[in-house]
Amino acid sequence: MLRHIAGRVGQAIVTTFGVLTLVFFLMRLSGDPTLLLVPQGASAHQIAILRHQLGFDRPLIVQYVAYLRQLLQGNLGMSLVQRMPVASILGSRIPYTTELAAGSLVVAVGIGIPAGVAMAVWRGSLLERSLAALVFAGQSMPTFWSGILMILLFGVVLGWLPTSGVAGLPSLIMPSIALGALSMASFARMTRIAVLDELSRDYVAAARARGLSLGAAVVRHVARNAAIPVVTVAALEIGNLLAGAVIVETVFAWPGIGQLAIQAIAARDFLVVQAIVLFVSFVFIVMNLLADVVYAVIDPRIRLSS
């Protein structure tokens, strides 16, 4: 188990390094923030001076090595646009994204998993078809569209919920639904397949032959067995949620790292973008390791064999 985890971490480090490198060069190829920073009337000479002072006239490879060196010392650097340590910028945004991701997971898991179980148990019924339509509807809407319409309906017309921004739990509801709807279908589909898979196994028939009802068999035996692939999906979906958060946070003016990422790319705030990508990779790794731990908790074959 430990060796397995070490291997995973090693792989993840290689991946993260690759991600960082890719993003570093992509960002540098897209220009630099100097033009965005200077007042409109600045001359070419004045722009060149600022670019030099900011260090963007150095060869790319020099900038790259300097960045890596700084990173290895645990320093994410200073945002040249906001003139603040990148770590503190990120630190102020991460809680919001965490909040949003948690809210969306509640929506996605809370609807997706029961729907998936129901779809498997009542396979071929009208209920299955209706649930399928529901979860796929959630996945088939552009988040910004459903977001805008929700804002219009619940925020502007009905006035039940804050239109956007951060204002306690009520303001979390709409963004969570908009974002959670995306993952809901993945959870439902995976749960359905996993439960169907398990339902066809002999131990379910054996449990029923012992006098258990189908419901009791699902609760006592199927649920835990089916949970294993679903946990894998959950770990992957966290990544998808972070990607979806980019648009949702922009629509709802939610001050998380998704919104920050778009703003930072637009502003060519390189170090902030790189730090966000680093953070996302980190979350990926942690989630996958967490999934491994959950497997071990659920499955005695993993727990006891290590």
Partner: protein, 504 residues
């Protein structure tokens, strides 16, 4: 698990904290208004006033800091930290500094702080993007008990207009805490001080007791970040916000039917213009450029798309700026003649790349495209993000496209800040070269004699009118929406002084 738990906890605490801060939106009518809520489209980029001058940032920090000089509501430059000034020579200007100003930490504002502020922003090592606005200044020195003298390279007529943007920062405090801490926890001498700044969410200012300029009208001012136009308007209607910055002309029109709110609009020095590349492509031919000028129905654009919240301009400058010429008539709107000119130039069906970014009004750009297509051109819109737009627009004549829409403001209300960078030979914005024009604008930039400058600019604008390296379209309004009780007159330079506001 630990990480998740901590994050959740942090999130929960944030949520509770925010819920407490926002409180009830609708205040009781009887109690005096103590808290003003403002919706801005963007967060403050930096609280350090010497790092940039974007509208959202200075809407906030300009209430924390006093500047050396400022503009009054009628647009005239008046003293703020300086009580008066005089030119000792064409390159030396002497300011008398008020001695009754204190910073928010209680320390006195001295001439040394003024000198420090100038030296800080002009020090290349500080990497201020604003350096270019002040790099004509060669030295700043304390020359008397309450006196500071600034020296410029050459006679520099726009100096005072540029100094409107110079905030005075506390030397001792910055030297103690450093630039990063100063940016996060700024201290100024203005009517408000920063109480809380949640990045991307809000900044909260509270009134400075005993402010030298009088009692601030509200105890507390909350600036919220609300990027969506529609949401700012909804907040205003719902009473969640008392005043919102930057609403669209369409929203302004729809707000007129709501009696609880009002629209505050003022013509600014911001000019909407169409750049026409005189050094590359079909528009190298002056006939094509003139045809473009004649193909655009500016009045139609303004009435249909800007809801009247703009005024047509005759040149690439607004009347709010020094140097706006009176006698020059624009090219008349005449699509037939334009089409004929294009035919004569053999440019029928010529492809004109039209650069733009999401920062500019899309409907105007598409309307211009149709107007130009109707006279026989083929305009192709290239929409890219702002950074790429600037890179291409400021690149070589080939990269800059044939056309580009721009909204120009030099924040100095002077022709020098507009047509010099836009059209002077060798400027990064200019894809045009005319030595007579260069001579006129160079002359206007190096004399303090207002009459002579006016004459120079008249000459310059006549040349531009003939050569059409750009088409002035309109003077844009700054449009604010406010609750009806708020008394305030917005200014052409888009200052956002809480001190000038009142609640009725």
């Amino acid at each position: 698990m630990g990480i998740m738990k901590t994050a959740f906890l942090a999130a929960a605490i944030t949520t509770i904290g925010i819920a407490g801060l926002i409180g009830a939106p609708a205040p009781a009518l009887a109690a005096p208004k103590t808290k003003l809520t403002v919706d801005l489209p963007n967060d403050v980029a930096t609280m350090d006033p010497q790092l940039q001058w974007d509208t959202d940032s200075y809407s906030v920090y300009r209430n924390i800091f006093d500047n050396l000089v400022t503009r009054n509501t009628s647009g005239k430059i008046v003293g703020q930290v300086a009580s008066s000034w005089h030119y000792k020579s064409p390159t030396e200007i002497v300011f008398t500094i008020r001695n009754d100003i204190r910073f928010q930490d209680g320390s006195k504002l001295t001439p040394a702080d003024v000198v420090y502020s100038v030296e800080r922003i002009t020090n290349p090592a500080f990497k201020s993007p604003q350096l270019s606005q002040f790099d004509e200044i060669t030295s700043a020195a304390v020359t008397g008990p309450n006196e500071v003298t600034l020296t410029t390279k050459s006679p520099y007529p726009v100096l005072l207009a540029q100094l409107v943007k110079l905030s005075i920062v506390p030397k001792a405090y910055i030297e103690k805490v450093g630039n990063t801490q100063f940016n996060l926890h700024p201290i100024g001498s203005g009517p408000y001080k920063l109480a809380d700044w949640q990045h991307g969410v809000r900044s909260v200012l509270t009134a400075t007791p005993g402010y030298w300029g009088g009692k601030p009208p509200f105890e507390k001012v909350v600036f919220r970040v609300v990027p969506q136009d529609a949401t700012r308007v909804a907040d205003l209607r719902a009473g969640v916000a008392d005043i919102v910055r930057q609403i669209t002309p369409d929203d302004a029109k729809s707000l007129q039917s709501d009696h609880a709110v009002k629209v505050l609009a003022v013509p600014t020095e911001r000019v909407g213009y169409l750049f026409v590349n005189a050094q590359w492509g079909p528009t190298k031919d002056v006939r094509v450029r003139r045809a473009i000028a004649m193909a655009i129905d500016r009045k139609g654009l303004i009435s249909a798309l800007l809801g009247g919240y703009a005024k047509p301009v005759n040149v690439v400058l607004t009347p709010a700026s020094f140097g706006y010429p009176t006698g020059i008539k624009p090219w008349p709107y005449d699509p037939q003649k334009a089409a004929a000119l294009i035919k004569a130039a053999g440019a029928e069906g010529a492809r004109l790349p039209f650069l733009t970014s999401p920062a500019y009004p899309q409907n105007i750009i598409q309307a211009i495209q149709q107007m130009l297509d109707q006279v026989g051109l083929k305009v192709v819109i290239h929409q890219m993000d702002q950074a790429s737009y600037l890179r291409d627009r400021q690149g070589t004549p080939q990269e800059a496209g044939s056309l580009a829409f721009g909204l120009w403001s030099c924040a100095c209300q002077d022709a020098d800040g507009t047509i010099w960078p836009l059209f002077h030979t060798g400027s990064i914005w200019s894809k045009y070269s005319n030595l007579a024009f260069d001579k006129a604008v160079d002359a206007a930039r190096s004399t303090l004699d207002a009459k002579a400058r006016m004459a120079d600019y008249h000459t310059a604008f006549e040349i531009l009118h003939r050569d059409v390296p750009g088409v002035g379209l309109y003077q844009a309004d700054a449009i604010y929406g406010a609750r009806d009780q708020l008394q305030w007159t917005p200014t052409p330079n888009e200052a956002f002084f809480i001190m000038d506001m009142k609640w009725k």
